[in-house]
Every structure is written in structure tokens, then in C-alpha cells.
Symmetry: C2
Subunit: 258 residues, 2 copies
């Protein structure tokens, strides 16, 4: 039986409240024209959503700590006990330029183990959730495990330009694949792989809040998540990231990344 | 007054019929698992949609010629008179892997001039249309002209890896910009720029059917469309392509592409 009923209900309520604020901001955003104002406004929305999260966690879970992009919570240097890791708007530049292809990412780690992750693609109304060990869902629909034997040649790859420039051989992997894509929101790019719509997503430098929820969901569905050198991630540090289908991860590690 | 009422009605009816066939194919597609079968099926759908288009044009406009990706129509070597240029599924690899981020692209050229363009993003239900000189629309909504003075630093850029590798200085343009994106369907990438959600889209090698409709819509909204060397496109030949906001096009040409 699920142990996290209260936490799930909490995240669902937060997404509803935060989503409404973000959608309301679209109208304001459209009326502001200069670059600096537009950036300021977006920063305000990022901070506004993170502040809302900090408030709501404080009300419901006063002993839990919070680790987030906008620094509205206290700084933390250990993952002891329950820690929420939040990105109020993952894909901020897409949010500014496109008002789509961005998401809210929320994860709960307990003693360093990811136990619950949730990603809300606000513009589409899609919510991905996973309690570790109890399956992953897109809205009400349980997601299937990813294919364990599909090769690079069967899949699209997602990679940012820095990852490709650092690892020249990735050009060869991309040629071997069905092609390169790049969407600019890590949490959603994790979900592309977790739902089998891409074989791997590689990035040279991501923060814990970019990947904290995506990692829980992707691993639950059978994906492999590591640094680009194959080492384990630490949710206190920034660094490179790869999430991939198992066989694609193996091929990339053996032939292209090490 | 619009001169093309019959043609517009024709394209709308074709999109409805073709969209239904494509959506029906999703279910079949999901039940097929091996790569070769899956590719065969997709080829079948591409051909099926183009064949449908050739049939329907033959019924309504028997004197018009057709130029299309799947070669179901006659080969043509001039653009005299009315010529329909069609891509039944632009973004085939996205269609296979993701069942989204693909579109049907249809354009009517008369004596080499694009007079009507229409792009249908089937999965979203979005239809972009433009009769040259009468404005461009997303569904029922008239689209605004693009900003004429926004610079590279204000915008996301879309570029395929070949375009970047051929033009090393594009790395610098991407660093100057808000970031790189890549979606893998030219017609939709043209629409990202035409609606101001990206500053430019550059590709090293596209076919006429990839860009025929997008060019009409993008130019109507104030975008500049050329080859990567700044020369004009010829709708009979494959080649490079850039669609950009006016000021971004100027900056790219002056500082990064020539």
C-alpha cells in the first residue's frame, strides 16, 4: 500500500494552485514588451511559485526541508530526513518565448532516496507522477515500462550542444540514431525518454532541481540515470546527466561516452 | 477579396479526411513492434495520405499538377501554372517515435508564386493557413506580424546539427541567443518563427515540400526566408533554408553566416 497519501494530495493541490497562477501570468506577460521587463516578470513568477511552495510545505509538513532553484528556502548541505526538491518553472526560457514546453517539477527525497516525483506540464495539463515502487502515471493512466532491448538506431536522441561539444563522438551516435532533438526543459526531456519517445537525453550541466523528479519517474519505468561518465548522481550537486533506455545507455557508455 | 475560396475549402476538407486516417493509424502503429514493420507502416501512411491528396486534386482541379515527397504524382521540372506542393507527413521520424510534433503541409504555387499555404499539426488539432496578401491564421485567429527589431539575444534559435557543423560561427550565434532548440519537423519549425516563439530556424538541407507552405505563411507575417547564403529559394530544388525575424536574419547574415 502507498505510504504517501498525504504528500500526493499535497502536491496535487499545489499544482492546481500554482498552475492557475502561471496561466494567469500569461496575460500579464503578453502586455510587457521590453526584454528586461519580461525577464524580471518571469523571475517574479519563478519566485512567486517557489514562495508559494515553501509556504504550503510549511503549513502541511513543518519539519520537512526544501531545496529549490530560486533559493527561497534555506540552504542545505545534507539530504538527511525528508527534503523537497523543487523547480518552480523548469524551462524558463521556453516559458518566456513560447508559453509552452515548460513544467513545474517537485520531488520528495527521504535520507537521499527519491520516494515521490511529480512533473506538471502546465500548458498541456499533463501531470506525471510516481511513488517509488508503485508505478508511474501520466494523469490517470499507468505508464508501461520502457523497452529494454531497443538500440540507438531505433531512437531519436536528445542532447544539448554543450554535451555534444564535450563528447565529440556523440556526433557519431547521433548519426547512428534517428536524429537529434532538443526541447529545452530537462524535466520534460526526462519524460520523453521515460515514455519511449526518445532513446536518451544527455546534458552537460544540470542542477538537482532539474532532474530530481524526472529521475524517480524514469527509473521506475526502467530507464538508467547517471552522470555522462556513468557515475551516480548526487542530489546536492550540479553536473552532467544522462537518462536512457537500458540498452541505449549501455551502447552510449561502451561506444561513445567513455 | 479572396480569390481562392474553392481551394481553401478543398484543403480544409482534405485535412479533415487525412487527419482522421492518420489518427486511426496510431492504434495500428502501437500494435506493431519491430523496427522494419514499423517503418513500413509509416511509409504506407505517408503514401496513403499523398495518394489521397492526388486523388482529391484530380477530382476538383484536374488541370493542376502536384509535386510531393512520396512521388505519387508525376515528376515536374517547371512551376508553370498551378502546382500543389505537398508533404503528407512532415516529421516522419517524430510521427513514428512520438506520434506528435508532425504535420501535413500543403501549398499552392501559381507560376512559381506561392498563393496559398496550409499546415496541419494533426495531434494538436492546429491548422495554420495563409492566402498570400490576406493575412495568416492559426485556426480562426488572425496572427499578428512578427516583431521587426528583436535581436538574436532576445530569442531562441532552431538549427539542425548539419547547419551548425557547416557554419562553425553559428556556435557563437547560439551562445549570443537564449538557446538552441530542435524539433525535427520543418513546417512546424517555420511556424515557431512565424509566431515569434523562435528568432530563426536554420537547416542545411530541405526539400521544397518541407518549406513550400511554411514560406508563404512566414513571409506573410513579416519573416525573411532565404537559403543560408542569403540567396532566394527555388521551389524545384532541395537546399539549405533559413527563416528568421527580419533583424535576426540581418544579424545572422552579417555576423555569422557569410
Amino acid at each position: 500500500m502507498s505510504r504517501l497519501a498525504k504528500e500526493k494530495q499535497f502536491v496535487a493541490a499545489f499544482f492546481e494552485e500554482a498552475g492557475a497562477e502561471i496561466i494567469a501570468s500569461f496575460q500579464k506577460n503578453l502586455t510587457i514588451e521590453t526584454k528586461s521587463d519580461r525577464n524580471d516578470l518571469v523571475t517574479n513568477i519563478d519566485k512567486q511559485i517557489e514562495t508559494l511552495f515553501v509556504q504550503r510545505v510549511g503549513e502541511k509538513f513543518p519539519t520537512h526541508r526544501i531545496f529549490g532553484e530560486e533559493g527561497m528556502a534555506a540552504e542545505i548541505d545534507t539530504l538527511d530526513g525528508p527534503v523537497w526538491i523543487v523547480d518552480p518553472i523548469d524551462g524558463t526560457l521556453n516559458f518566456v518565448a513560447q508559453q509552452k514546453n515548460f513544467a513545474i517539477s517537485v520531488a520528495l527525497y527521504v535520507d537521499g532516496i527519491g520516494v515521490y516525483g511529480a512533473i506538471y506540464e502546465v500548458e498541456k495539463g499533463d501531470i506525471y507522477t510516481c511513488e517509488k515502487g508503485f508505478g508511474a502515471y501520466l494523469n490517470e493512466r499507468k505508464l508501461p515500462k520502457v523497452s529494454s532491448d531497443a538500440a540507438i538506431s531505433d531512437h531519436l536522441l536528445i542532447a544539448n550542444l554543450s554535451a555534444i561539444r564535450i563528447n565529440e563522438r556523440l556526433f557519431e551516435a547521433i548519426k547512428e540514431s534517428r536524429g537529434l532533438r532538443l526541447y529545452g526543459a530537462a524535466s520534460l526531456e526526462y519524460m520523453y525518454v521515460a515514455t519511449g519517445r526518445a532513446g536518451a537525453y544527455m546534458s552537460a550541466n544540470l542542477a538537482p532541481w532539474d532532474v530530481a523528479a524526472g529521475k524517480i519517474i524514469a527509473e521506475e519505468l526502467g530507464c538508467i540515470v547517471t552522470r555522462l561518465d556513468g557515475s551516480q548522481m548526487n542530489m546536492l550537486e550540479k553536473g552532467s546527466s544522462i537518462v536512457a533506455l537500458p540498452h541505449v545507455h549501455k551502447e552510449l557508455m561502451q561506444n561513445y561516452l567513455r
